[in-house]
Amino acid sequence: MTGPRSVPLRTGLARGASAVGFALGLPVLLFTLWWVLSADSTTIFLPPLRRIVEAFGQVWLSDVFVRDVVPSLRRLATGYAAALVIGVGVGYVVGRWSVVRALTGPILAYFRVLPAPVMIPVLLVAVGIGDATKLIVIVLGAVWPILLNTADGVRAVDQVHLETAAAYRLPGWTRHGLILRAASPQVFAGARQALGISLIVMVVSEMLMSTDGLGFTVIRFQRTFAIPQMWSGVLLLGLLGFALAKVFELVERRALRWHRGATGREESS
């Protein structure tokens, strides 16, 4: 501790390097293992990783990206955003007023457990095949965790906070903002769950309503026995799920910085 100033820096660097080592070690090892073990594979279902990576470049870095990946992502973003707006809005009303909560309780309980993919055939019949259907399915799948968590969070807002806000005669809008802010850790928990669900629902709806999109393309590769291409699609979907989760984590960390500070907790889960 009493050494020259460069020592803490160096230990800091060493700690950083070891953290990177720990983070990358196993993934690199697994990837290498897969690469080496599959190198001479002649099984049609398990092509060498080298060929999958080649296919990845050929398939996804071409116009297929614009034709299939972009529409998928657009639907996902639109549906998820709509689910956020509706879920937080309705969830706020449900959580804030106990009469609304009592009235909607059984219906919400029902829709929470109804599997989202089941709505795909229903909407196929009611709305028809097309973008609108896929969008509605994503909203219907993602909205419930957001709504229910928002309602729970709003309901659990500290009574003292509410009374303080009332005592200071804060205007209505500020008060709504405060309540929503206090509920935001719960809202984020719901939103994170909804992100995973909307990705799944997006892929399933594309698998079932074969027009375009990532899910459809992967299934088409599989049906035409373009196995390396299919694997590359599976990889892309995996990467997409990972990237979305990471982006969400970043947003959450920024938005809930006050919360971690206020409660001294590492993670709000």
Binding site: A102, L103, V122, I200, M207, I219, G241, A245
Partner: protein, 273 residues
């Protein structure tokens, strides 16, 4: 993920009202929603594509007397149950193995973080080439629920009271006894939460397996009635699938309560009704 049952319900007195009144309001809400659906379908949609509730409900009742509905439900529940058992056992074993060895946790955490958000249905195209659809459905259920159980176990292990562990150590409890008396009871509430979460996830994936791959069960039945144009039957099946979900959820909550009857949150919940 309604975390409400882990947080003691805030006693707000006047606003909540007695339980009976709340139930009554719930029934009123259901009736209003049913009437609203009936009115909207009758005015805006053709009864062929979006049948009103007055047509769907009798159809659902009729389905309840049919063997094919019960076989399909049985198959779906079998997939749910097998997947859940695999997920819970594997999640607990792997969770305890990784969570109790610090360096193992450090080495694997990035990999686990990478694999968890990968939606399990991406496996469908790969697996469909090597397994039959019923097995894949079980596997989908198992994989999705495994992650939830695993991470709940890891959260639980992180939450174990250091003082309790040190106390057990100073009482010379062996490693196994420490797991049984200290670690396991601390993880149990997290497992209860996991149980509540995985039941509806499991149902969703079992049904998805039927929809996408035609694995025998409720999902396949729904998809077939859609393809053959029996739309009223399809709506009735969807209605009943939600009912199956409600029953599963109820079962999970009861199981959680039994599992955690000793836990503070449960006792408080029982006390407040």
């Amino acid at each position: 993920m309604t975390t409400s049952s882990r947080v003691p319900a805030p006693t707000r007195g006047s606003a909540g009202g007695p339980v009976a009144g709340r139930r009554l309001l719930g029934v009123v809400g259901l009736l209003v929603a049913a009437a609203g659906y009936e009115a909207v379908t009758r005015t805006f949609f053709s009864p062929l594509h979006v049948p009103p509730l007055s047509a769907v409900a009798p159809e659902a009742l009729r389905l309840l007397t049919e063997a094919r509905f019960w076989t399909a439900t049985g198959r779906t529940l079998l997939a749910v149950a097998s997947g859940l058992v695999i997920a819970v056992v594997a999640g607990i074993v792997v969770g305890f193995a990784i969570g109790s060895v610090p360096w193992l946790l450090r080495v694997t955490s990035s990999t686990l973080d990478f694999l968890r958000p990968v939606p399990s249905i991406v496996l469908i195209p790969v697996l469909v080439l090597v397994l039959d659809v019923a097995q894949i459905t079980v596997l989908l259920v198992a994989v999705s629920c495994f992650w939830i159980v695993l991470f709940q176990v890891l959260y639980g292990l992180r939450d174990v009271d250091r003082v309790a562990v040190d106390t057990a150590r100073s009482l010379r409890l062996g490693p196994l006894a420490r797991v049984v008396h200290v670690t396991w009871p601390s993880v149990l509430p997290y497992l209860g939460t996991a149980l509540r979460l995985i039941v509806s996830v499991a149902l969703a994936l079992a049904v998805t397996g039927g929809l996408v791959m035609g694995a025998a069960g409720l999902g396949e039945l729904i998809w077939r009635s859609q393809e053959s144009g029996e739309f009223t039957g399809m709506y009735a099946l969807v209605l009943l699938t939600g009912g199956v979900g409600i029953l599963l959820d109820l079962g999970a909550r009861l199981a959680e309560r039994r599992l955690l009857h000793w836990h503070v949150a449960t006792r408080r919940e029982v006390a407040t009704g």
